[in-house]
């Protein structure tokens, strides 16, 4: 089990199992008049079969295939990916409390400073311009209702 697609097969086999299990709790109907559980169940079955086919095919494949360790061989900045993800989640989590203007300022400042660090002058400039600019475009001009937060902005 060193090949990437073997693990892909297993992962989707598990997912298809969950789909089938979930579908059995819905009314299946019958083949004359399929119910809401009919299609999801068979989708799960088909996906499971495809996953098994992928697993078997990869296991017996003699040509060169991608190995699981190749995923980690390249130098990947996992930390930066995590920062972006954290930034996104925090944005969603805090926007109702801080309001659009403030959270957008912090968001842009955080990403420009901590992913590929820019000088503080640039960071503040882009964050200020970006937050105020997008506020003017989306809230004032297009009249979209953006969250207000504690300070009412």
């Amino acid at each position: 089990m060193k090949k990437l697609d073997q693990w892909n097969g297993v992962a989707f086999l598990i997912i298809s199992g969950i789909i089938c299990w979930g579908s059995t709790r819905l009314p299946y109907g019958n083949v004359h008049n399929p119910g809401p559980g009919f299609l999801p169940f068979w989708l799960g079955v088909v996906m499971g079969l495809l996953s098994i086919a992928l697993l078997i095919k990869t296991t017996f494949q003699t040509e060169r295939v991608k190995m699981i360790r190749e995923l980690f061989a390249k130098k990947i900045r996992w930390g930066k990916v995590f920062y972006v993800l954290a930034g996104l989640i925090l944005y969603a989590f805090l926007m109702d409390y801080l309001g659009f203007l403030l959270i957008t300022f912090l968001f842009i400042a955080f990403l420009t400073r901590f992913i590929d660090p820019q000088s503080w002058k640039k960071v503040i400039g882009w964050a200020l311009g970006g937050s105020v600019g997008s506020y003017l475009i989306f809230e004032v001009w297009m009249k979209l209702r953006l969250p207000k937060g504690f300070f009412g902005i």
Binding site: I19, L43, L50, K66, A92, R145, L146
Partner: protein
Amino acid sequence: MEILQHLFYGFSVAFQPINLLFCFLGAVAGTLVGVLPGLGPTAAMAMLLPVTFGIPPTGAVIMLAGIYYGAQYGGSTTSILVNIPGEAASVVACLDGYQMARQGRAGPALGISAFGSFIAGTIGVLGLSLLASPLVEAALSFGPPEYFALMCLGLTVLTFLAHGSMLKALIMAVFGIFLGTVGIDPNTGVQRFTFGKLELMEGIGLVQIAMGMFGISEIFINVEKIVKVSVFEATIKGLFPNLQDWRKCIGAILRGTGIGFFLGILPGGGAIIASFASYAVEKRVSKYPEKFGRGVIEGVASPEAANNAAAQGAFIPMMTLGIPSNVVMALLLGALMIHGITPGPLLMTSHPDLFWGFITSMYLGNFMLLILNLPLIPMWVKFLKVPYPILFPFILLFCLIGVYTINNNVFDIYLMILFGVFGYLVRKLDFEAAPLILAVVLGPMMEKALRQSLTMSKGDFSIFFTRPIAGVLFGIAIFLLILPMISKVVKRDKIARLE
């Protein structure tokens, strides 16, 4: 001359100032996203979908279409100048275009790509308006089994043309259909996989999925490595190709247009495949194939024409049958459905203003792009110089605002982030996102057609094979599914014989 009447009517709609404005906005936005690497037409359309909710459907479609073909134009600019394709369909333009730029012929390369695109786009629109009416008539005889077969074929072709393993593309497609079943079942009102969440009752939104899988995950991919863009500092002079260039190119442009248009119509086809195919053909018919890849102008003209013609051709199955042939069309279909319009054979008669206005707007849009693109190239190049570390927070911000404003609900943001992570993972694991998105759109339609067919036939599956059109469509789909296996066996046979 019914067709002229239709076109005339279409122009009267497209020339309305508000529609001209939407067309212009779409074309400019499209060129911009085409120029910016790491932001393809799919992500851009997903981002702008929420903006279109507030405008009339005709304007919305005109603008979204503008983004699509505008991106084809813009993408080639960066291919030629910096050897970085702004979007996938422009990869081929890098081969000879960048070489031409290095030999100091950036001007003619950009020029021929714009003119080639314009010629192809124009012929494409004409073909589209000619083919639309007969296809609509044929489509009116389609019943649920035919639709089901056609959608299966569309998905199969897309997986067949997927880059990597077909099995994996099929897994993505099936998973996409499954995602489409989430929400309240329209027939019975039963909740499916909603986990009791109010936000999931109406299903998982296409915008959330598309933005996550194309917008957010693209950023993850780019952020994980250090991106450095070096802009080719050539002075661009003489955008007009000379007479000799034209003589070489006119055949190439017409061939590219033909190939692109027909590949565009095919379900699952589209601009990317068209550009590769036309390059291959051009190389084969050329008297000097060995020079390709070293700066031959036909190598720019033909694929550029092809990807534009394909962009037009792809609208045909969408507008006449209501079946999107690729992801971009799926998003457009999603936009129409949000406006309460179901594209299909009835669209032409029920919303003639939308149908013909939209087709003719593409003609105007192509013209706008021609005058827009050539003089503005120096400005587009400036956009390229915005460093990615500053660009990407803004792309994320647009995604966040876009997805939030659909329902003014934070839940949609979490959903988008979730699909962003999912998209990132599956890309790392060498899956393709395109079949999944197409399946999400087709899924509910497929289920409806399947259930209706089975009710019609009282549970007999042979209905899909005994009705001639459905049978043929299914036959092709099954053939495509088996083809990779056969070709592998044949190849193995050959190798065995050689040994």
